[in-house]
Amino acid sequence: MIKVEGISKYYRLGTQGAGRFREDFGHWWRGTPGPSRDGVSGKEAHIWALRDVSFTIGEGEVAGFIGKNGAGKSTLLKIISRITRPTEGRIRGRGRIASLLEVGTGFHSELTGRENIFLNGHILGMTRREIQSQFDEIVDFSGVGAFLDTPVKRYSSGMYVRLAFAVAAHLMPEILIVDEVLAVGDAEFQQKCLRKMKEISGKKGRTVLFVSHNLQALGNLCQRVFILEKGRLADSGPPTAMIARYLREDCIQCLRQAYDDPVVAPGNAHIRIKRVELIPSYPGEEELIDVRTALRLELEFWYEPTGSEDIIVGIHLFTLGGDCIFDVASPRSYPGKGLIRASCEIPAHFLNDGSYYISIVFVSNTTKRLFYFESCLSFEVADHRENTAWYGKWMGHVRPDFKVQLETYNPFAHV
């Protein structure tokens, strides 16, 4: 049971970093106020990471939190975990809390797997008796049994993560706080983790607070989902309704930018953007871009060539993490001045679920960059799966619909 009342968190930017004694002492000595660092002026140099957030989570309830990066999800979990302090408001609760903001916290690379199970378990708040009673299960779950007495610095990253999650999964707090830990490990292990999470919340009746970008997992595990938007609690309710609302919000998706007047339009002397738009063809009734949705990119711009140079328009598609998925370009062409139109089709069953953004580049004479319209469009692709019991993150940035065939060609062969 957690009661959150009017929580706000204020961060000063710039001044927040570790300072220099010499400067601060100097200002104190001369009686002058210290300047805010990094050249940020006093008035703008702060953000409210959370603003007046209140809610109550009942015993045994599984609550999910969604929101864009920077919406305050992690700050909220950090405040509830007592890692950072709210600026206003208060939180009261009943029951022992364990937070899992990162698996493997406190692992020491010089120590063996066995030592680290205890160390990590204690750091997460387990007693020795609790760890001992679950020790075999933890080792079994992690599958690193043979390397138990090897220093973890010799572990592969997969083994490391598995051991770390195994410890965390066997925590026995009344309230468990989990931040995006499902994004680690291989697919098989993720599945195991999700099953374990379900078991923790379902059978054992623990309260779980859960942040994930994996909307499908969230929808499956949670009874209630909270949407955070720019530090405020925007809405809360049953998961399906909340996830649909979250994806509809144009704060996540910027599918269109249009300018009527070339003077205010983004660009320069050669290029002015009139319109750039992503038009989805939704497969069903719902207006929701998922892996089955084809996307058509349309672009209109004013063009003013300097001479007889050519122009190439390129489209760069990035994941939110900044990996470039593709870079496609138009052939060289020599249009005269005026309004130019370009378009491109991103087929259905191409992108995996995730967040993406598009930048458009205008190049002349193959090398001279006329204009780079950076991250002008952004969108989120939702997951869609049929007939599958597996909700972990589907691997890869693309999810093409290539057919994989299986057949028996020798029924008499033995393993």
């Binding site: 300072g19 405040i79 007592r82 709210p86 939180i91 009261r92 009943r94 809390i97 916290t105 010089e110």
Partner: protein, 282 residues
């Protein structure tokens, strides 16, 4: 109103100087034990000599002091054979310096853990003190062997009832290191440019403490200043008890105890007040 009392815990935005939550520490005694173990295991698995290093370091330092201060510079040892004299000073100083420098970087070296999981932060410096106490115990074993040798050769008096005071003297020495370390841990987290000056001050502090000389040779004009340093009465008391020097001024000893207590209270209060806000900085 009845329901209000049912909450187990509460998080509020206020900063408290004296909400120390020491009651939470016993619940984490398993973690404390593990942290001490981690400290000892990880340190000695990494070094060439392993746990032997605990003894090699004071032995080599003692020999070096014996050559430099005993043979070359010829500093008085107040009638005590040089080896036990230097070893006693080095053991006391090292215990203090280890407790201090083990604590003063608490927030910097543990920022990764502190930003991910909550547990009573004081456990980290406490575990450091306990690990150093174990090292101290081993070094004291060496000192007792050396002492026994000189005792059998009738060059040192036998142990008296005063030896029961030794744990108190050493406890005060360790707590002083902890207290100063706690204050500095807040400072080093806030100001990164303090590091060099602090290392330098620590080195000077050693020369200002009676590690390789007895307090008896301090010129009259400086006596008060030297004795205001709590380490002077503490190290002197340690030697007086071991080497049968007779009583040292009780006033200075009480003052040292008072200073240690005051520094410790300021240290814990400062540490507790800033422990969460420093997580936002580091």
């Amino acid at each position: 109103m009845q329901r209000e009392k049912e909450w187990d815990w509460e998080i509020d935005p206020k900063y408290h100087w004296f909400k120390w939550e020491l009651g939470a520490i016993p619940r984490y005694k398993d973690l404390l034990y593990r942290l001490v173990r981690r400290d000892l295991l990880a340190n000695y698995q990494q070094s060439v000599l392993g746990p032997l290093w605990i003894l090699v370091q004071p032995v080599l330092t003692t020999l070096l002091y014996w050559i430099i201060f005993g043979r070359i510079v010829k500093v008085s040892t107040n009638g005590v054979p040089p080896l036990p004299f230097y070893l006693s000073g080095i053991i006391c100083w090292n215990f203090f310096a280890d407790c201090l420098s083990g604590t003063m970087y608490t927030f910097i070296t543990n920022s990764a853990i502190f930003s991910k999981v909550w547990f009573p932060r004081l456990l980290v410096p406490l575990s450091g003190i306990l690990a150093h106490s174990l090292r101290l115990a081993i070094q004291l074993g060496l000192f007792i062997l050396l002492y026994g040798y000189y005792y059998l050769h009738n060059r040192l008096p036998g142990p008296g009832i005063g030896w029961l005071m030794l744990p108190i003297v050493l406890l005060l020495t360790g707590l002083f290191g902890l207290g100063v370390g706690l204050i500095l841990s807040v400072a080093t987290a806030k100001y990164r440019d303090l590091d060099y000056s602090l290392q330098f001050i620590l080195r000077l502090w050693m020369f200002a403490s009676p590690v390789f000389y007895p307090a008896a040779i301090i010129p009259a004009g400086f006596v008060l200043w030297f004795w205001l340093n709590p380490l002077t009465p503490l190290i002197e008391a340690f030697r007086a008890l071991c080497f049968g020097w007779g009583a040292i001024p009780a006033g200075y000893l009480w003052m040292a105890a008072g200073t240690v207590l005051a520094v410790l209270i300021v240290g814990v209060a400062l540490f507790k007040r800033h422990e969460t806000s420093l997580t936002d900085i580091v």
